[in-house]
Amino acid sequence: MADSVISEIPPTMCLEKPSIDFSYVGIDAILEQMRRKAMKQGFELNIMVVGQSGLGKSTLMNTLFKSKVSRKSFMGTAEEKIPKTIEIKSVSHDIEEKGVRMKLTVIDTPGFGDQINNENCWQPIMKFINDQYEQYLQEEINIDRKKRIPDSRVHCCIYFIPPTGHCLRPLDVEFMRRLSKVVNIVPVIAKADTLTLEERDFFKKKIREELRANGIDVYPQKEFDEDAEDRMINEKIREMIPFAVVGSDQEYQVNGRRLLGRKTKWGTIEVENIAHCEFAYLRDLLIRTHMQNIKDITSSIHYEMYRVCRLNENNTQANGLADHHPASHEI
């Protein structure tokens, strides 16, 4: 066979362009496989909204997800409207976009900060969050585990700061201080259309200072930045929090386009216009760029911390200490 040549060339060193690509194994196809799997399974997201009544929490949720995911509270008399204790109301919706299915759960906390005496109003909320962790932990240590443990852990807690324009209130500080240790907190300035741009900047600066002074680490937390690229992106975000948002689920005609907004005698506030308010930044952060990151931090950091605490607690209990039920880990 004069016209054949045996050559022992390691495949990566082919000198000519062959008809078949000699050095392509195809491992990048695994991304496609993962994608298929993810699309089939769908995603879960649990967002908690916390703030006094009337700050526009439900409207903001509806605006974020462009559908009625949150029912606005019933406008009754004072006694009917404000519950005596804080309730935790959880509503789930299955939404779909471009083939991606998501089970969105909005957890509302009516009654927060509405009482005359608001001491310890964060306790039911912390208990709820810890209960979700506990439920996940129990599922995880089961002998017969489910293939995919349903994730009811709170991934993100949006805290609504009333637009006083001065500084954080003691309630805000107390709440965020405690909760930033167990869940990702995203503080927002609610109903920001009552602040002018200068007032808004001043308010934000004041809030950032106070958060720093009290050692409160809100999302994106500095210590969880993975690498330089992440840090760069997150620094830009950290310079902008808290986002000053305006929510609306009504459309108006502006310059020939129909936009979500609030119409007043002196002009129309466009919700998605970044010159008017920072809703678009919040939406991008929460949904378009950092959603997976928020979930990852919840599961790999907050949940792991809870788990370690819990396992250690169990061991000290077994060593003969008193109470069987661990207290919710209050700090």
Partner: protein
């Protein structure tokens, strides 16, 4: 769409998308998940098993276009007589189009080589169990940040083309391992067979696999909404088991074409020609379409089975220890971490069953005994070596034991 572009740059993109008023934006979620995985990279552990000389190393090299066995020294016949089956690991990092894969190949030199091959699969089964155990400990431990997944995701078993279907060693090996790992049977050195012989052999082997109740890796069924081409390919794949493969890492040139293959005086066997052998099918299955599924089945089925078994046997040991302590008034024995959790001799089983009966008999002392368990476990804990891991495993074990007892109690009442 640049999922992580800076927020200000998103302006222009946003404007066009917002015109689509219904667009919220979470359709980017799969991309966000991608990003993390690409950064972290993937890993895959493949085991190859079969007698020497069946072309395992060549096939692995052909599959992943690497040369893993550069410095290998082959033993001659005398040296192989008393050789035991070793387990060797080779790891290689492959990167392609920005995707990093840490590939680990587990080889079993010496398998089936000795004169007496009884239980030569034992070291293989032990290795797989060890990896499960390691993962179980890591998963139950306190620091779960960087768990290394060394579990074997797939085992390519090489069947010799010279026999008449499966040989006794093949059957025993596959039966010992089919519940621990995904087995993909492969018909080696298929260039010694004509197409008709290949077809007949495949049918025979498939029949024998079913006859002996061997559970090889099953391809997942297609969704009903997949396109026809995909379904057809999937069906072809299922009909090609075992894959008749030929491996080659040499490039041969014939009539101006360069192909990877083997040169014979009577022609050239092309490795990547689907008419010549199933190499392309195997590679596509392993790497391009089913890698994720292989890992999922390992994680969700084989590992979960191991874990459930492990917890139950550990729970039983705790019960046994407790009863033994109660009877002989001994205290402070070491907590027995099972070394080979899958193996429990019949006598121990009988003892456990007797003790279980004892436990079940007096229902009014049940709760007392449950409390005693925690106390007994306390004594044992003090003597444990590796406290952190042991404690968390222990804790799970106590919780399991209580739930197992409850389950037994309930079952008894029903």
């Amino acid at each position: 769409m640049a999922a992580h572009s800076t927020v200000s740059r998103d302006c222009e993109v946003r404007l066009t998308e917002d015109q689509d008023k219904e667009y919220v934006g979470f359709a980017t979620l799969p991309n966000q998940v991608h990003r993390k995985s690409v950064k972290k990279g993937f890993d895959f552990t493949l085991m190859v098993a079969g007698e020497s000389g069946l072309g395992k190393s060549t096939l692995v090299n052909s599959l992943f276009l690497t040369d893993l066995y550069k410095d290998r020294k082959l033993l001659n016949a005398e040296e192989r007589i008393t050789q035991t089956v070793e387990i060797t690991k080779h790891t290689v990092d492959i990167e392609e189009k920005g995707v990093k894969l840490k590939l680990t190949i587990v080889d079993t030199p010496g398998f089936g080589d000795a004169v007496n091959n009884t239980e030569c699969w034992k070291s293989v089964a032990d290795y797989i169990d060890q990896q499960f155990e390691q993962y179980f400990r890591d998963e139950s431990g306190l620091n779960r940040k960087n768990i290394q997944d060394n579990r074997v995701h797939c085992c390519l078993y090489f069947i010799s083309p010279f026999g008449h279907g499966l040989r006794p060693l093949d059957v025993e090996f596959m039966k010992a391992l089919h519940e621990k790992v995904n087995i993909v049977p492969v018909l080696a050195k298929a260039d010694t067979l004509t197409p008709l012989e290949v077809k007949k052999k495949k049918i025979k082997i498939r029949e024998e696999i079913e006859q002996y109740g061997i559970k090889i890796y099953q391809f997942p069924d297609c969704d009903s909404d997949e396109d026809e081409e995909f379904k057809q390919q999937d069906q072809e794949l299922k009909d090609s088991i075992p894959f008749a493969v030929i491996g080659s890492n040499t490039v041969v040139e014939a009539k101006g074409k360069r192909v990877r293959g083997r040169l014979y005086p009577w022609g050239i066997v092309e490795v990547e020609n689907p008419a010549h052998c199933d190499f392309v099918k195997l590679r596509n299955m392993l790497v391009r379409t089913h890698m994720q599924d292989l890992k999922d089945v390992t994680r969700e089925t084989h590992y979960e089975n191991y874990r459930a078994h492990c917890i139950q046997s550990m729970t039983r040991m705790v019960v046994k220890e407790r009863n033994r302590n109660k009877l002989t008034r001994e205290s402070g024995t070491d907590f027995p971490i099972p070394t080979a959790p899958g193996v429990s001799d019949s006598e121990t089983e009988k003892l456990i069953r007797e003790k279980d009966e004892e436990v079940r008999q007096p229902p009014h002392t049940q709760t007392q005994e449950q409390e005693c368990v925690t106390q007994e476990c306390v004594d044992q804990e003090c003597v444990m070596h590796d406290e952190c891991v042991q404690e968390s495993v222990q804790e799970e074990c106590v919780m399991q034991e209580e739930s197992v007892q409850e389950a037994e109690h309930c079952a008894e009442l029903c």
